[in-house]
Amino acid sequence: MSSLPSAPSKPPIWRDIRVLRWAFQLLVLALVMAMIYWLYSNYQANVAKSNIPTNLLFLDNPANFTIPGNDLDQSQPVRDAFVQGFYNTLRVAIVGIVLTTILGTLVGIARLSRNFMVRAIATAYVELVRNIPLLVLLTFMNLAVVLQTFPRIENAWLPLDLFVVSNRGIAIPWFEGSGTVLLTVLAGALIATWIVVKLRGRSSDSTGKPARGLLFGLSTFVILVIAGWIVFGYNWVLPFVDDRATSGGLRLDPSFFALLVTLVVYTSSHIAEIVRGSIQAVPSGQAEAADALALSGGQKMLLVVLPQAFRIAMPALGNQFLNLIKNSSLGATISYFELTQIAQITVGNGSPAVPAFTLTLLVYLVISLVTSVIVNIANRRLALVER
C-alpha cells in the first residue's frame, strides 16, 4: 500500500466488470442450452425406446374424420384437416377482433357517459364479464345459452323469415355462388365512397362549409350497393328448415356462435377499460377546444378525442387481439373444430403427440407474430411524429 497504482491500470481479470458480465451471460446461456439439450435427449431416448415417430410424416396419413361445415373428406390427409382447422381459427379470430373492437369502444365510451343509466350498465357489464374465467363463460354460453335457450330445430325461431335460429346453429341469408358480383360492387362502392369523402374534404377546405363526409360517404355507399343489387342481383338465398337441418343461406355452427360471442363479450370488457383509460388520458384541453369550436358531441368524440385516444390505446389493444386469437383455442372444449381440436383429434387417432402439438404451437406463434407486426405497423402510423 506504499504506492498508489497508476490511474488507468487494468484490474485483474476476475474483477474486470466487463469480463464478469460476459462470463455470467455465457454461463447463463450455457446452462439454458444444457437444460434444453438434456430435455431434448431425454425426449429422443424415450421416443426411440417406444418407437414413436418424431417427424411430420403423419401429416400424409388419411385424416379419417370429418369437420362440420367444412368439405373435408375423410380420405384426405391429416395435413388438410390442419389447414381447415387453421382457417376455422382465423375465421373466429378475424370476425371476433372486428366485433370486439366495435363493442369494446362503444362500452368504453359509455363508461364515461354523463347519463347515469348508460354509465351504470356499462360499468356493470365490464365488472361482471371481466371477473369471470373465460372457460366458465364459454361453457356457460354453450350449455346454457346455445343448447338450452335456443329452440330445437323442430320449433326454430324464424325472425322476419330471414334467419333460422336453433341450437343447431344460426342460418343467415347469403348469396349463392362465388360472390364475385357482390365483392366487385362492394369494392367499387368503397372506392367511390373514398373519392366522395376526399372531394367533400377538399371543397370544405376551399369554401369553409362543413364537409359532412360521413353523411355523403355513407349515402354514396348505400346508393351504389342498392343500385348494384337492382342491376346485377346478388342471388340472395334465404335459409329455411329442411327436415332436421337448415338449407340455403349461410349456417353459423352453434359452437362457432358460442365461441365468437364469448370471445367478443369477454375481450370487449377488457378493451372497454383500455378505451376508457385512453379517452381519459387525452388532455381535457382537447375536448374543451372542440367545445369552443362549437363541435357537436359526436363530432368532438369522433374527430378530436377518439383519434388521440386510439393513439394511446393501440399497443394495449394489440395485446387484447393476441389474447383473443390465443383464447380461441378454448373452442376445442365445445367442439368447435379449430386448430387445437384438430390436433387433439388426430393425436387420439394415431398421430404422434409431440410433433402434432409442436406444429400446432408454431402455427399459433406465427398467427400471433403476424398480428403483432400488423399492430406495430398501425401503431407506427398512428404515433405522433415528433420533430
Partner: protein, 365 residues
C-alpha cells in the same frame, strides 16, 4: 423493424424452451430407465420393477362410463375396467386394493401411457393397427369385444340407413369418429359429426336436441342409456353394428415382461371361469381338488411320490397370482355379471370359447 425482428427472435427462443419443457414433462417420468446404461437384466428396466418398488399399480381409467368405470361418491372406482385394474394389482402385488386409478380424457390416454404417468391403460380402448404402431403402445388380449352402434331418441329413426343429414355426436379422439364418417359415406347419408371432449357434454347436447344420434360402442351406449335422466325407454339403440371394437388393455412398447404380466392377469380371469373357479369357491377347491391343471393354475403344491412342487412358469409373477386374482376380484364371468349384466348387456361375443364366444386363454402349464 429491427425491434420487431429481435422480439420475434426472443419469442422463438422462449417457445423452443417451453416446447422443450413440454416434451420433457411428457417423458420425464420414465427417465430413470432411459438414461441409465443398459443392463443385462431386462427386469431392472421393466415397469414391473418400478411397480413392485412403488407397491402400487397406476392404472389409466375413466370416471363416468356406466358399467366400465364410474367414480363413486366414496372415491372408489366401480366397473368392469376398474376390476381388471384390480386384477392386475392382485396378480402383481397380491393385493387388489394396491391400485391407483388415474382418470384420463380420451384424447390424453396414450400420452399418459407414453409418459409413464400410468403403468397400464384399461380404459375401454379399441385395439387398432395404427394405435399399435404409431402410439408406441402394445395391446393385450381384449377384455371386451364390442362394436359401434347408434343410439337415438325412441321413435325418431328405425335404422341407421334412415338418418339422412343427421347430426351425430361422438367422443373426441376415438375410433368412433372415423367409423361414423366411414359409415356415413358408405351409406351416402351426409352426417354432420360433432366430437366432444367428455361424454357429459354429449349427453347435454343430446338432451337439448343438438344431436340426432349418439354413436359409440354398443356397450357404452347401453351404459348411458341405463343412466339416462329421462329413463332408458326414451332412447333406442338401433340394431346395426358397424365396426369391430376389440377393447383391450395396453402397455408401453418395448417392455415384454410387463406385457406378459398384464396378459396373464387377464388370462387368469378367463381361465378361472373355464375351470369353474369363483371368488366364493376358490378356497375350497384349492384345498380339495386333485385336478393337477387346477393345482398348477392356483399355485398349489403338487405332491407326487413324496416330492412336492409348485409350477412357476417364469412369468415374474408370484406362483399364486391366479389364486389372488380369483379370490380378490373374481373370474371373468363374475366381473361381467357384477358390472355389465345390470345394464342389460348380454355376454354374446364375450362368452367363453366353450360357449361359442371369443374368450380363450392359453393353457397354463
Amino acid at each position: 423493424m429491427k425491434k420487431t425482428v429481435s422480439i420475434m427472435a426472443a419469442l422463438a427462443a422462449v417457445t423452443l424452451v417451453v416446447s422443450g419443457c413440454a416434451a420433457a414433462e411428457d417423458t420425464s417420468a420414465t427417465d430413470d430407465t432411459s438414461t441409465t446404461e443398459t443392463t443385462t437384466e431386462t427386469a431392472a428396466n421393466s415397469v414391473l420393477a418400478s411397480v413392485i418398488e412403488a407397491d402400487v399399480v397406476k392404472c389409466g381409467t375413466r370416471d363416468a362410463l356406466p358399467g366400465f368405470a364410474v367414480l363413486q361418491e366414496d372415491g372408489e372406482h366401480q366397473g368392469f375396467d376398474s376390476d381388471f385394474c384390480r386384477a392386475i394389482a392382485a396378480a402383481v402385488l397380491g393385493d387388489a386394493s394396491k391400485v391407483e386409478m388415474v382418470d384420463l380424457e380420451t384424447a390424453d390416454r396414450f400420452t399418459a401411457l407414453q409418459s409413464g404417468a400410468i403403468d397400464v391403460l384399461v380404459r375401454n380402448t379399441t385395439w387398432t393397427a395404427s394405435r399399435d404402431g404409431a402410439e408406441g403402445v402394445t395391446f393385450m388380449h381384449p377384455n371386451f369385444y364390442d362394436g359401434q352402434g347408434m343410439m337415438v331418441t325412441s321413435g325418431s329413426y328405425a335404422s341407421v340407413g334412415d338418418m339422412n343429414g343427421a347430426v351425430v355426436c361422438v367422443a373426441k379422439g376415438t375410433t368412433t369418429e372415423g367409423n361414423a364418417a366411414l359409415e356415413s359415406s358408405r351409406l351416402g347419408l351426409d352426417w354432420e359429426i360433432r366430437s366432444f371432449d367428455e361424454t357429459d357434454l354429449i349427453l347435454e347436447a343430446f338432451i337439448a336436441g343438438q344431436c340426432d344420434g349418439w354413436s359409440s360402442d354398443v356397450s357404452q351406449l347401453t351404459g348411458f342409456r341405463s343412466a339416462y335422466p329421462n329413463g332408458a325407454e326414451a332412447l333406442t339403440i338401433l340394431p346395426e353394428v358397424f365396426s369391430k371394437e376389440p377393447l383391450a388393455p395396453a402397455v408401453l412398447d418395448g417392455d415384454t415382461q410387463w406385457a406378459q404380466v398384464v396378459s396373464w392377469a387377464i388370462f387368469a380371469t378367463i381361465q378361472a371361469e373355464e375351470f369353474g373357479l369363483t371368488s366364493a369357491n376358490v378356497d375350497d377347491i384349492s384345498a380339495s381338488t386333485g385336478d393337477v391343471s387346477i393345482q398348477r393354475f392356483l399355485g398349489v403344491e403338487i405332491v407326487t411320490d413324496g416330492a412336492s412342487s409348485v409350477l412357476d412358469p417364469g412369468l415374474s409373477l408370484p406362483t399364486d397370482f391366479a389364486y389372488q386374482v380369483v379370490k380378490q376380484v373374481g373370474n371373468y364371468g363374475e366381473i361381467f355379471e357384477r358390472n355389465l349384466s345390470p345394464l342389460g348387456l348380454e355376454r354374446g361375443l364375450n362368452s367363453l370359447w366353450t360357449d361359442g364366444g371369443l374368450m380363450y386363454a392359453p393353457p397354463y402349464r
